[in-house]
Amino acid sequence: MTGDSLIYKYIDINTPKAKINYSYSKYGGELFLSSYFNLRKDVIFDERKAWAPILNINSTVTSELMFNKWINDLQKNFQFDRKELNLLLKRFEVTKKVFENYDQNYRPVDKLKFLNLRLYVLFSFILSLTYKKYGNLQYLNSLLKVNDINISNINKLDEETKNILYLSIKYEITFVKELRDKTK
């Protein structure tokens, strides 16, 4: 990590058990944004190949199967009903957790099963695809938050999952740069 990445303080190895607090965040000007970009770039510096994400279709985790389907639908430009994603996004924003199983109202079936880190990466990838497709800022907002969790835990991810995260972070950086250009 470069020195000024220390200014970006939204990385916490205690996530997802602990929640990162984003309320009333202090203004740090250009220096803050530059520390954000440097931190993200440091993470993807390690990227060796531009792999396409490899999904585990044999997973036994219900949320992973659901995420696989969403990724497939979004990548192939199939019809995608955002109502379910929006409900999941709401749950994530409240809890800052992604659970292994949800009921039909997207409430967690078992509130203790939130430590599957691959789910956070898949969720991040879904958010990058949905922001790319629809451009709603809520998706980019949650993408930044879930990637804070993912980067906090990057050393615990396997190589295939890391690769999906690299793709998602690349998207995220592009989106933030595009938004800056658009609003300048």
């Binding site: 009333y24 203004y27 944004l33 800022l137 930044l144 800056r180």
Partner: protein, 238 residues
């Protein structure tokens, strides 16, 4: 007939802004009372008014509150009565009981950040007025002022009657404000100033009209606390 207003106030900048704006109402038309809570537990940190904020707000013709004036002083100066409840829990039985016993038509909520009013508040015939920085029903949720800047829309504040559902209820009025210029303190000054301005306009409106604006079913979007990166992109765009 006088409208009876109860300000349900924490030791917050917003409560001070609302309290001071109430001085701009005709005392023959309004009767003001206060219910202050959580004061021993919470300090109110007074932010510096930087020159960019002062100049911009003055250009807009908006009222600049004196944040170093406590809500107790504002109430005492105006001979408005107030009582205090020694709890920070806005949904506590003590606060609900106090509100129930007050003879008021409208309760104005100016509590602590992140607090939500629960069902117990909405069982009586008292109406709860809230000012939301966003155009309801389309811009629901949190930190919407920054999303408005990013979406290059005007800043809108909606005055509405609250229900137990977040940012849903009957709209009273909404007012539009200019996007702030560079260096304006949005969180602590501009947000409170525009809400307080809309607040007093809503009370004046209600004094002569009924809340007639209906919430419409639409494709509303719910915003969540803005990530610091997006907040910086918004503020750096000014």
């Amino acid at each position: 007939m006088k409208s009876k207003i109860l300000l349900l106030a924490g030791n917050t900048l917003r409560a001070r802004a609302y309290g001071q704006q109430l001085q701009n109402l005709n005392p023959d038309l309004f009767e003001i009372e206060g219910l202050l809570y959580g004061f021993p537990e919470k300090d109110c940190i007074i932010p510096n008014l930087n020159s960019e904020t002062k100049i911009f707000v003055e250009q807009q013709g908006l009222f600049i509150p004196k944040f170093d004036e406590s809500i107790e002083i504002t109430f005492s100066k105006n001979n408005w009565s107030f009582s205090k409840v020694d709890t920070i829990d806005v949904n506590s039985r003590a606060i609900l009981k106090e509100i129930e016993e007050k003879d008021c038509d409208i309760v104005v909520f100016a509590g602590y950040g992140g607090q939500l009013l629960k069902d117990g508040h909405f069982v009586s015939n008292k109406r709860y007025l809230h000012m939301h920085p966003g155009k309801l029903p389309s811009e629901r949720g949190s930190t919407t002022i920054f999303y408005s800047i990013l979406n290059q829309r005007k800043i809108t504040v909606t005055a509405f009657y609250m229900t137990e559902k977040i940012d849903a209820g009957q709209n009273i009025i909404y007012k539009e404000y200019a996007i702030p210029s560079k260096g304006v303190d949005v969180d602590r000054w501009y947000d409170n100033i525009v809400r307080a301005d809309c607040f007093v306009s809503a009370l004046k409106f209600l004094n002569t009209n009924d809340a007639t604006m209906k919430q419409m079913a639409d494709d509303s979007e719910e915003y969540y606390i803005i990530h610091p990166v997006l907040k910086h992109v918004a503020l750096l765009s000014l």
